[in-house]
């Protein structure tokens, strides 16, 4: 006997729901609810956020405190709820048009900030609620009511956008590959950080029929032809692969912050070699001699400075001179001199 306790997470009294017969959204909602139920996530520890569109209506059928945002803003709302209430698990249920088109900027930045939320994207490659207009994920060449000659542009590759910078969790699955679908939901929910499940789904009424499919099942078979499941964890997924791509840290190690600077005790003034202004003049950096300058009673060795380039003069700074006054009036600070080593004191 199948475990039906997931139904406690759905507002069954609101049924029948608003979606067309054959639509994939019902499968998305049911399977998410089943995994949530298995994991023990409920209205006391979880908040649900959704956007606008057919898929955005999922929030209103779920027995949680649910936030139904304006179009495209689900991710920002979810991130904020997690920020203010770290004790809550936050999931987002929405569609490809909402998340990737009008909410595209938020998708980039919420993933960049690695907000600890899980997104389930019903990716049906069309704007269904408004009547079947081309969307950000509509494949090139597809005829829709706003692309009567076939969509002229390539679709947004969510898999590439969301895996360009670790940490990331991106899973692509479909409503037809049920076991794989549930595995992806479970792994995404358990991932700490931003996790995105791209669910290839069907819109038979406003996309499928125009494409020539008679039933939703024919569309599912088409998904089976277009995609194949890859096992194990990948770094990235090819466009025809269903699977999980994840990385916890950058694949190529970023350079580590440098060793802490060693600060050597400055020699006391008396220990320094005394130099008169006349002595100083000899160290002008010419003919293999070191390049010294005076500053506030001390002599600094600027031989390694790239700025003089073998010349005796660099703008108003002259090698072998006391530059205290010049540096006071210079557009830069004294730090440019202080970083060099002290070799003597002016007497």
């Amino acid at each position: 006997m199948m475990d039906r306790s997931y139904k406690n997470l759905l507002k069954m009294h609101r049924y029948p729901h608003t979606w067309c017969p054959g639509c994939g959204i019902g499968a998305v909602m049911k399977n998410v609810a089943m995994v949530l139920s298995e994991l023990g996530w409920n209205h006391e520890n979880t908040g649900v956020v959704s956007g606008i569109g057919c898929s955005g209506r999922m929030a209103s059928y779920m027995n949680f405190d649910a936030v139904h945002t304006p179009h495209g803003r689900a991710l920002t709302a979810a991130e904020t709820i997690k920020t203010v209430r770290p004790d809550l698990n936050v999931i987002v249920l929405s569609g490809d048009g909402d998340l990737a088109s009008i909410g595209g900027n938020h998708l980039l930045h919420t993933s960049r900030r690695n907000a600890d939320i899980t997104i389930f994207c019903n990716d049906n490659e069309i704007y269904g609620l408004t009547g079947g207009q081309a969307g950000p994920t509509t494949p090139k060449g597809t005829k829709t009511i706003t692309s009567p000659r076939g969509e002229p542009y390539s679709p947004l590759r969510l898999g590439r956008i969301l895996t360009h910078q670790a940490p990331y969790f991106y899973a692509r699955t479909s409503v037809y590959h049920l076991n794989h679908f549930r595995t992806c939901i479970r792994e995404a929910l358990q991932w700490k950080g931003f996790s995105f499940v791209d669910i290839i789904s069907d819109c038979i009424e406003l996309n499928g029929r125009r494409l020539g499919f008679k039933t939703a099942h024919q569309m599912f078979k088409w998904f089976d032809e277009r995609f194949h499941i890859v096992e194990g964890t990948r770094d990235h997924l090819a466009e025809d692969e269903l699977g999980i791509a994840k990385a916890e840290t950058e694949l190529k190690e970023a350079p580590k912050p440098g060793e802490p600077l060693r600060v050597e005790a400055e020699p006391s003034k008396e220990d320094l070699k005394p130099l008169t202004l006349k002595d100083l003049q000899r160290f002008d950096g010419q003919e293999g001699k070191p390049l010294y300058v005076g500053y506030k009673g001390k002599v600094y060795d600027l031989s390694s400075s790239p700025l003089f380039q073998g010349d005796k003069r660099m703008r108003c700074h002259i090698a072998g001179k006391d530059l205290t006054r010049e540096i006071e009036f210079a557009p830069h600070g004294e730090d440019l001199v202080l970083k060099f080593s002290v070799v003597g004191r002016l007497v």
Binding site: K11, R14, H43, E44, N45, T46, G47, R57, A59, S60, N63, F64, D65, A66, V67, H68, T69, P70, R73, T76, A77, A78, E79, T80, I81, T83, V84, R85, D87, L88, N105, H106, L108, H109
Partner: protein, 348 residues
């Protein structure tokens, strides 16, 4: 905190006094100091949450969402950013999210004259978002009042369960005055609304019934909901009948000005009566009708082309003279000249 504070600093301190726990914003002059102060405040107070968002759309959505999640929240912006926030403000009224939107006005439309002061976002408060809603908006004219009215805005938000707008201008935001905030006593209204995770409610921008079920083809449910919303907002607004009236004996002319303009024309109090609305919206109907009835000439001096004047005309059912201060120019000499010319024209 006592010292030489700017309007923006006073607003931030006011928000903290009111119990704010969340700030989201996007840099825009002349409001950025508040974003910066929030970033610094988080360093010492990690329980305060802060987001520098990717745009004002996200900042405004974050503020509403933080409010639903249980924090007193606010944002700060200027005209162009306020335009982007309108979507969220409309949503905030429907999902009943108490929060504060601070708008420091500059010359518009669009990028306008960055960043000369103006007072030209009044119509945006009332009509920037789609549909009918009844916002409450306050407009201080001194640094101390920035502090007091920020607390009042948070209180009105909690009482009306909706976003409240606090106005300022580029002038007032960067005006420094000596204030002793510790000596100011203000009452704060605590959060009553249950935070998220306490039930199975639906917070949706779709028209809905009292149970939170979406109802998209029920005019009676919508009408009942809107009437309740309007009634609640007007009742809360009545608690804040804020204005300043300085009568001048023997004068037959009333000057109406608010925000920085009221400071600029203060020297004219020897010749004219002055009226300063502090609650900008809903318009102070009863007060305006009562006070203007005693004057032959009513003149509105404001940093836009007659936005408040048109509201006054609708309220008192007679023509008023307009003295617009445009392009960031608030010069007393020019204003006085305009006023005298207007009165001569009306008499002639």
């Amino acid at each position: 905190m006592k010292g030489f504070l700017s309007g923006n600093e006073a607003v931030f301190q006011g928000a903290l006094r009111a119990g704010a726990g969340y700030f989201a914003g996007y840099p825009i002059t002349p409001s950025s100091e508040i974003l910066q102060q929030a970033a610094l405040h988080v360093e010492e107070n990690p329980e305060f949450r802060f987001l520098q968002a990717e745009d004002e759309i996200a900042a405004a959505i974050a503020v509403i969402s933080a409010s639903l999640a249980g924090a007193k929240s606010f944002t700060a912006t200027s005209g162009p950013g306020f335009s982007l926030m309108q979507e969220a403000i409309g949503w905030g009224h429907v999902v009943e999210a108490p929060c504060v939107f601070f708008n420091s006005m500059r010359v518009g439309p669009s990028t306008g004259m960055p960043t000369q002061p103006a007072q030209s976002d009044l119509l945006q408060i009332k009509g920037g978002s789609a549909g009918d809603y009844y916002p409450i908006a306050f407009y201080p004219n001194s640094v101390e009042e920035c502090f007091r009215l920020t607390v009042a805005a948070f209180n009105a938000a909690e009482e009306s369960l909706s976003p409240v707008v606090l106005l300022s201008d580029a002038f007032l935001s960067h005006l420094y005055e000596i204030v002793d905030l510790d000596a100011i006593e203000v009452a704060t209204v605590p959060r009553k609304k249950e935070p998220l995770g306490k039930g199975q409610r639906l917070f949706t921008g779709i028209s809905h019934d009292k149970m939170g079920n979406t109802r998209t083809s029920h005019p009676d449910i919508y009408q009942e909901w809107l009437a309740e919303l309007k009634d609640r907002h007007l009742r809360v607004a009545e608690k804040y009948p804020l204005y300043d009236y300085v009568p001048c004996k023997g004068s037959d002319t009333l000057l109406i000005a608010f925000g920085i303009t009221s400071r600029v024309i203060a020297p004219l109090k020897e010749r004219f009566s002055l009226f300063r609305p502090i609650r900008i919206y809903p318009v102070l109907e009863e007060e305006l009708q009562r006070i203007t009835s005693a004057y032959r000439h009513v003149i509105v001096v404001e940093g836009n082309d007659g936005q408040y004047a048109s509201w006054v005309e609708c309220t008192i059912h007679r023509r008023v003279l307009r003295v617009p201060c445009l392009g960031g120019s608030f010069k007393l000499g020019a204003i006085r000249h305009h006023i005298e010319e207007g009165i001569r024209g009306a008499q002639g």
